[in-house]
C-alpha cells in the first residue's frame, strides 16, 4: 500500500501513459488485422503526447496565455510575469507538432492499407502471408 502511495498515486499520469503505450505497442506488433495495428499506433502516439503534456503541468498554474491587458502599452505593462503562474508552454508546442505528425502518419498508413486491400483483398496479415507463399519468391 505504501508502494502505491509513494510510487503510483503521485505519478499516476506516468503510469497510465506507460500502460497506454504498451497497449498500443502490443497491438502494433501482435494484432493480425492491419487496421487494428493502426488503431494501436494511434494509441501509442497519444500515449507519448500524454507523457509530454504531463511533464509541463504545474500545480496551481494557469493556461499559458498572458492576460491581454498585461501587454505593453496597457495598464499593467510593467508587472513582471511570474513563470510559476503559467503552465510550461514548451511541451505543448512540441506536442502540437507531434499530433500533426501522428495524423499525417495515420493518413499515410491508412492509404497504404487501402492499397494493400486493393492488391490482396484482405487486411488480415495471416491471409496475406499465405497468399504470398503461393507466389514465386526470391
Amino acid at each position: 500500500m505504501e508502494f502505491v502511495e509513494q510510487f503510483i498515486v503521485p505519478k499516476f499520469n506516468y503510469w497510465i501513459y506507460v500502460v497506454l503505450m504498451m497497449i498500443g505497442m502490443h497491438a502494433m506488433i501482435a494484432k493480425n488485422n492491419f487496421f487494428k495495428k493502426l488503431i494501436g499506433m494511434a494509441i501509442f502516439q497519444t500515449a507519448i503526447i500524454l507523457f509530454y503534456v504531463s511533464i509541463g503541468v504545474k500545480e496551481g498554474a494557469n493556461i499559458p496565455i498572458l492576460d491581454h491587458h498585461m501587454m505593453p502599452g496597457e495598464v499593467h505593462a510593467n508587472d513582471p510575469v511570474i513563470a510559476a503562474k503559467f503552465t510550461n508552454p514548451l511541451p505543448h508546442v512540441l506536442m502540437l507538432t507531434a499530433i500533426v505528425v501522428s495524423v499525417a502518419t495515420l493518413g499515410l498508413a491508412l492509404a497504404i492499407s487501402q492499397k494493400i486491400y486493393r492488391e490482396y483483398g484482405t487486411l488480415e496479415e495471416d491471409d496475406i502471408l499465405s497468399q504470398i507463399k503461393l507466389e514465386p519468391n526470391d
Binding site: M41, I55, T105, E119, P136
Partner: protein, 520 residues
C-alpha cells in the same frame, strides 16, 4: 551569402518540391529539371558549407536569430544548425548521392511510375531535405520532425512500387513509427531531467548536474539507441529493410539504400558524441554487470555475420544487396562503439564509403534489370560480354564491398579492423574478415555467372503482378543511367586514394574528444 549556405542546403530541395507542385503537375517534363536544379543548388551550398568548416572549424547557424541566453555557452532558445567536419561530410554525401540518383532516374521514373512523376519527385526532394536537415540540426526535437519527414516520404516512395512493395511499406510504417516514437520518448526523458532541447545544452546539463547515474537519462539512452537501430536496420531489428529496398522502384532503392541507413548511423554517432558524451556512451552500465561498448560491439559482430550469411543464400540481386547492407550497418555500429578514435574514424569514413558502394551497386543492378528484365542473380548470365562497361563499374563496386585495394572499401576495413585490434575486440575483427570473405564468395559467384556464359535452363519468371509495370526492357543503356554509375564507381577509387585526407577531416572533428577505452 556564404554564411547563409547551411540553410540553403535544406531549403533548396524544399523550394524545388514547391515549384513542382506549382508547375510540375501541369508540365510533367519540368519535374526532372526542377529536381536537378534544386539538388544542384543544394550541392553547391553543401560544398560552400564544407569549405567554411574546413577553414573555420565547426560553426553554429541560428535560425530565427535567437541568440543564446546567459553567460558562457548559455542555453539556446531557438533552433540551431551545427556543422562540423563530420556532418559536413555526411551532407556532402547526401547532396552528391541524391543528385546522381536524380540524373539516373530520368528514364526509370517514367517507366515505372508514369502517371505519378510530379508526386514522385516531390517526395524525392523532400526526403533529401529531411535527411539533410537531420544531419545538420542541433536540436533534439527538430531532429524528430525531420526524421518524420524523411520517414513519411520513404514510406511513400517505397509503397508506389509493386504489389509486394506495398506490404513491405506497411511493415516499415509500423517499425518506423515505433522507432520514431521511441526517439521522441527518449527526447522527452532527456527533457524531463534537463529542461532543454538543444543537443549541446542537454550534454552541458547532464555534465553540470551529474545526471550520469540518473535512470531517466539511462532509459533515454536506451530508447534513442533502440530508435536509431530500428531505423538503420541493425540486426535483429532489420526485418523491414530487405523487402522494402528490393520491391520498391529502382530509383527509390538507389536513393534510400545509400542514404537512409547511413544518415541514421550518423545520428547515432551524433547522439553518442554530442548529446550523451563518449564517456557516458562507453561507460554507462544501466546497473547491469556489462559494459555498453562490449555489448554493442558483440551485437554488431552478430549483425555482420548474420547479414552476410543471409545475403549468401539470396537469389535475388537487390535482396542480396539489402542483406549486405545489414551486415555493413554492423560494421559501422561496431566501429563507432569500439571506444577508440580509429574505430570511430573508420565508422564515419565507412559511412561515406558505404553510401557510394551501395549507390554504385544499386545503380548497376538497376541497369541490369532495366536491360534484362530479370532481377535474379542467374539473370546476369554472360553480362560481361553483353555490357562490359556497366559490368566494369559493378566490378569496382563489388571489389569495394569485398574490401580489396585500391577501392575505398579496403581502407574503411583498414580503420575498422585496426580499431578492433586496438580495442582487443577479436570477435569483431573476425566478423569483419568473415564478412569480407562472404562478400568475396557472393560477388565472385556473380562474376562467374556473368563471365562464363551458359545456356539458361529456366527463363525469367513471368511477372505475376500487373501493377509492377513490366519494366520496359531497354536496348541500350542511356547516358543518364551510365554516367551516375560511372561517377560513383570512380568515386569509390577516389575515396580510397584520398582516404588519408578524409580521415584527417574526420579527425579534426573527433580530435578534441576523449575516448574512454572500456575498463578491463
Amino acid at each position: 551569402m556564404g554564411e547563409q549556405a547551411p540553410i540553403a542546403i535544406v531549403l533548396a530541395p524544399l523550394f524545388g518540391a514547391l515549384l513542382i507542385a506549382f508547375v510540375g503537375i501541369r508540365f510533367k517534363a519540368l519535374c526532372l529539371p526542377v529536381t536537378l536544379g534544386a539538388l544542384t543548388v543544394s550541392l553547391a551550398a553543401t560544398i560552400e558549407t564544407f569549405r567554411t568548416v574546413l577553414s573555420e572549424g565547426e560553426f553554429i547557424y541560428l535560425i530565427s536569430g535567437w541568440e543564446r541566453l546567459g553567460e558562457g555557452k548559455g542555453i539556446s532558445i531557438g533552433i540551431e544548425y551545427r556543422v562540423d567536419a563530420i556532418s559536413a561530410l555526411v551532407l556532402l554525401v547526401i547532396a552528391a548521392v541524391s543528385l546522381l540518383v536524380a540524373v539516373y532516374s530520368r528514364t526509370r521514373v517514367v517507366a515505372e511510375t508514369p502517371d505519378r512523376i510530379p508526386y514522385y519527385y516531390m517526395l524525392y526532394l523532400l526526403l533529401v531535405a529531411g535527411l539533410a536537415g537531420m544531419t545538420i540540426t542541433n536540436d533534439a526535437f527538430n531532429l524528430f520532425v525531420l526524421l518524420e519527414i524523411s520517414s513519411l516520404t520513404s514510406y511513400a516512395l517505397i509503397a508506389v512500387g509493386s504489389r509486394r512493395a506495398v506490404l513491405s511499406a506497411f511493415n516499415y510504417v509500423i517499425m518506423g513509427t515505433i522507432g520514431a516514437s521511441f526517439y521522441l520518448l527518449g527526447v522527452g526523458y532527456l527533457y524531463i531531467k534537463t529542461g532543454v532541447l538543444n543537443m549541446e545544452d542537454i550534454h552541458a546539463v547532464i555534465v553540470a548536474n551529474d545526471l550520469a547515474e540518473s535512470p531517466s537519462i539511462q532509459v533515454a539512452f536506451v530508447l534513442i539507441l533502440m530508435a536509431v537501430w530500428i531505423k538503420m536496420a541493425f540486426f535483429p531489428l532489420h526485418a523491414w529493410l530487405p523487402n522494402a529496398y528490393s520491391y520498391s522502384p529502382t530509383t527509390t532503392g538507389a536513393l534510400m539504400a545509400p542514404l537512409v541507413t547511413k544518415v541514421m548511423i550518423y545520428i547515432m554517432i551524433r547522439m553518442m558524441v554530442t548529446v550523451f558524451g563518449l564517456d557516458y556512451a562507453f561507460r554507462a552500465t544501466l546497473g547491469m554487470p556489462f559494459n555498453w561498448s562490449n555489448l554493442v560491439v558483440s551485437l554488431s559482430s552478430i549483425a555482420i555475420v548474420a547479414g552476410s550469411v543471409m545475403a549468401l543464400s539470396r537469389r535475388d540481386l537487390k535482396k542480396m544487396l539489402s542483406y549486405i547492407i545489414i551486415a555493413e550497418v554492423g560494421y559501422m555500429v561496431g566501429g563507432a562503439w569500439l571506444a577508440n578514435e580509429r574505430g570511430m574514424t573508420g565508422a564515419v569514413y565507412h559511412i561515406v564509403n558505404d553510401a557510394f558502394m551501395t549507390l554504385c551497386l544499386f545503380l548497376a543492378v538497376g541497369v541490369f534489370i532495366a536491360r534484362t528484365g530479370d532481377p535474379r542473380i542467374a539473370g546476369m548470365n554472360g553480362l560481361f560480354k553483353k555490357m562490359p562497361i556497366t559490368m566494369a563499374a559493378f566490378t569496382i563496386g563489388a571489389l569495394s564491398m569485398i574490401g580489396l585495394p585500391p577501392t575505398c572499401g579496403f581502407f574503411s576495413k583498414w580503420y575498422l579492423v585496426g580499431g578492433g585490434i586496438e580495442a582487443g575486440q577479436w570477435h569483431f575483427v573476425g566478423a569483419l574478415l568473415f564478412s569480407s570473405l562472404v562478400n568475396a564468395v557472393i560477388f565472385f559467384r556473380i562474376f562467374e555467372i556473368a563471365y562464363f556464359p551458359k545456356e539458361l535452363s529456366d527463363p525469367a519468371p513471368e511477372c505475376t503482378d500487373p501493377d509492377a509495370a513490366p519494366v520496359a526492357t531497354l536496348q541500350r543503356t542511356p547516358l543518364s543511367m551510365s554516367l551516375p554509375l560511372w561517377i560513383s564507381a570512380i568515386a569509390l577509387i577516389g575515396l580510397g586514394i584520398f582516404n588519408h585526407t578524409i580521415t584527417q577531416w574526420i579527425g579534426s572533428a573527433l580530435g578534441s574528444l576523449k575516448f574512454f577505452p572500456p575498463a578491463g
